[in-house]
């Protein structure tokens, strides 16, 4: 099987002895949306930069579209949106797209058409002649996505693509990314927004301390993290203290708006909890299963202790 991206024992040690990658083996199938997760300093950006020859590997090999990354040809029909990009302030939105497209060898009528199409795709058609220096962070990010998609690339790397983008535009960008994968492109996303990865990506890998620690589909990872446990949410009237103490054996946690959630191993336990609530004359308004989110799985799999206090159900 040929992969859009493949790395074999890829490693990187920077000057000064900092090891960013330790023998990363990764295969990304063609046409999938792939998410790379990991804490700060895990080596996510280094991995992408090595694949794009921005950083040189210390060891191992990698291919892009089946071509060795040491060849410039590997980067043909590849789009890239780096995190914290800085476009030349003297360029307009169309100028940014045109310049980077020309560097990729796109010329003539196709160039003009692609620039117009991609800026329209990210909702910036009316802003194409405005200099990017006057853009908000979210708008600049959309220009970045547009330039990454010019030329209908086979592989697109997006590093924090929705960083600074408002919710409505974020939804629009998700549609754009889905459309790219529907068109056959492989999209590789680095993002801290796990909810984003969850709704977009077919496959996910978790990188930690320079090594891939888990990989699979979102459902595989959540199943792996949850094991045979499941969570159920209840919305009830006020709970007496003695009942709350009893629910502690189910790792009960309060949530806003009269909700609390418990962890169970068998669905039959739901009836037992309802019985306990009813016998304490507590009104039960709603009961619902709570699917484990990728964020919970991520914390579960990586461990909560990362030098910061991380509470279950949210970061602090």
């Amino acid at each position: 099987m040929s992969y859009a991206i493949q790395t074999i024992n890829l490693s990187k040690t920077y000057k000064g002895g900092i090891t960013a990658l330790r023998g990363v083996d990764l295969e990304v199938p063609k046409g999938c949306c792939f998410g790379l997760l990991g804490p700060n300093g895990a080596g996510k950006s280094t991995l992408v930069k090595i694949l794009l020859s921005i950083v040189r590997p210390s060891g191992g090999t990698a291919t892009l579209r089946g071509v060795d990354i040491r060849s410039a040809e590997a980067r043909r029909r590849v789009g890239y949106l780096p995190e914290g990009h800085r476009f030349p302030s003297y360029l307009t939105a169309a100028g940014v797209c045109r310049y980077f497209a020309q560097l990729a060898g796109i010329e003539g009528e196709r160039l003009a058409r692609e620039v117009d199409d991609k800026l329209a795709l990210v909702g910036l058609a009316e802003w194409k002649d405005t200099k990017v220096k006057s853009f908000s962070k979210g708008m600049a990010q959309r220009v970045g996505v547009a330039q990454a998609l010019i030329g209908d690339p086979e592989v697109v790397f997006l590093d924090e693509p929705t960083d600074g983008v408002d919710p409505v535009a974020r939804q629009g960008l998700r549609t754009v990314i889905r459309r790219a994968t529907d068109g056959g492109a492989t999209v590789f996303i680095n993002s801290h927004l796990l909810s984003e990865i969850e709704v977009l990506c077919d496959e996910v890998a978790i990188l930690d301390k320079g090594a891939v620690v888990q990989r699979g589909s979102v459902s595989e990872l959540t199943a792996l993290a949850s094991g045979n446990k499941m969570q159920v949410r209840f919305r009830t009237g006020s709970l007496p203290d003695e009942l709350w103490a009893k629910l502690a054996e189910h790792k009960a946690e309060r949530e806003p708006d009269g909700w609390f959630r418990v962890e169970i191993e068998d669905e039959a336990e739901i009836s037992a909890i309802i019985d306990a609530l009813r016998s304490a004359s507590v009104l039960v308004f709603a009961v619902e299963p709570r699917r484990m989110r990728l964020e919970d799985a991520y914390i579960e799999l990586l461990g909560a202790d990362r030098g910061m206090h991380v509470a279950r159900g949210g970061t602090v």
Binding site: Y14, K49, L52, S53, I54, V55, R56, A72, E73, A74, R75, R76, V78, Y80, L81, P82, G84, H85, R86, F87, P88, S89, Y90, L91, G95, Y99, F100, Q102, L103, A104, G105, E107, Q147, F157
Partner: protein, 324 residues
């Protein structure tokens, strides 16, 4: 438009943003236009009473005397540059040869019209101004080219394109040089046509200044590019550029007069003068080539060429090896 042209075009846009390049264009155009406007021809008397046409400059040399008489001095200076000693014995073989050369210059002077000589001296003087203005402002304009290209967040997308790194490095370098070359050609072309229209002398030797000036600029830009790639600092690249262009020659001259005495120090001085690029010497050679082209002093030219290759090679190597 290919990727290389795209980089060159981007360098032009960057230059417009930086303003210094536009100031350079304006200063060059103003210098040439004002000088040409002040230049005119007059009729003057030779010592033997004949009436000849001369070139004069309003308010500076109204009689055209200075321009005409300076020609002999400038031409002779091209011979003096070839002398290896200040203490020439007129009866020695070299002394005799020098006297013969001076006789030839006197004959040449007699054969060259006063107007032609005046124009050549004017070209020398204006060439000096164009040279100085363009080089000094080019250092300021070009110092930011590489640091801006390599800025974090800006270089990533460029490197991710299907371009070898040598194309990016040399594309940026050629972009800077192409703009400078175009500006320089424009200035000398303006001077050529301006003086031609004002004096009737169409002197293509004006363009002889360009190759050596471009070599000087290329070497300076090579050093600036190397520093830009090494340190990513516009200010540092600019400072070193100015030191290299303005101060090195002055320091060398001062060192020559310092009476250290020891042979070893004398040899060190000689060595330094031989291996360090001397922009003032090359400038002088370039400007005098308008009057006497064969008198080119090749030693500093070769040294400059070596530094150009060295700085470009090293700059590219650093760019090629570095992670961004």
């Amino acid at each position: 438009m290919g990727p290389l042209l795209a980089i060159i075009a981007d360098t032009w846009r960057q230059s417009r943003q930086q303003v210094v390049f536009l100031i350079m264009l304006g200063a060059l155009a103003l210098t040439v236009l004002v000088s040409v406007a002040l230049t005119h021809t007059i009729e003057g008397h030779e010592p033997d009473g004949t009436i000849v046409e001369k070139v004069a400059v309003h308010g500076i040399d109204d009689e055209g005397q200075l321009l005409t008489s300076a020609w002999m001095g400038l031409y002779s200076s091209t011979l003096m540059r070839e002398l290896e000693t200040d203490d020439l014995d007129p009866f020695s073989e070299e002394g005799q040869r020098m006297q013969e050369e001076l006789m030839k210059i006197a004959e040449l002077q007699a054969q060259t019209s006063a107007k032609q000589r005046g124009v050549e001296v004017l070209i020398y003087a204006l060439g000096f101004a164009i040279y100085a203005i363009s080089m000094l402002l080019f250092i300021a304009a070009s110092a930011g080219y590489f640091p801006a290209l390599l800025e974090a967040g800006a270089i990533d997308i460029v490197l991710a394109k299907p371009l070898e790194r040598w194309r990016i490095f040399f594309g940026k370098y050629l972009g800077g040089m192409a703009l400078f070359g175009a500006a320089l050609f424009g200035a000398y072309a303006l001077l050529f046509f301006g003086l031609g229209l004002r004096t009737g002398i169409w002197h293509p030797a004006i363009f002889r200044v360009m190759p050596l000036q471009l070599l000087s600029a290329a070497t300076l830009f090579g050093l600036i590019a190397l520093l830009g790639v090494l340190r990513g600092s516009t200010a540092l690249a600019m400072i070193v550029g100015y030191i290299g262009y303005v101060l090195v020659d002055k320091i060398m001259r001062v060192l020559l007069f310092v009476p250290f005495g020891s042979d070893r120090w004398q040899s060190t001085q000689e060595l330094l003068r031989t291996v360090i690029p001397n922009f003032a010497q090359v400038r002088e050679t370039a400007l005098l080539s308008v009057i006497n082209a064969p008198a080119t002093d090749w030693q500093p030219v070769f040294v400059m060429l070596a530094w150009l290759l060295l700085s470009l090679g090293l700059g590219y190597w650093v760019f090629y090896r570095r992670d961004y």
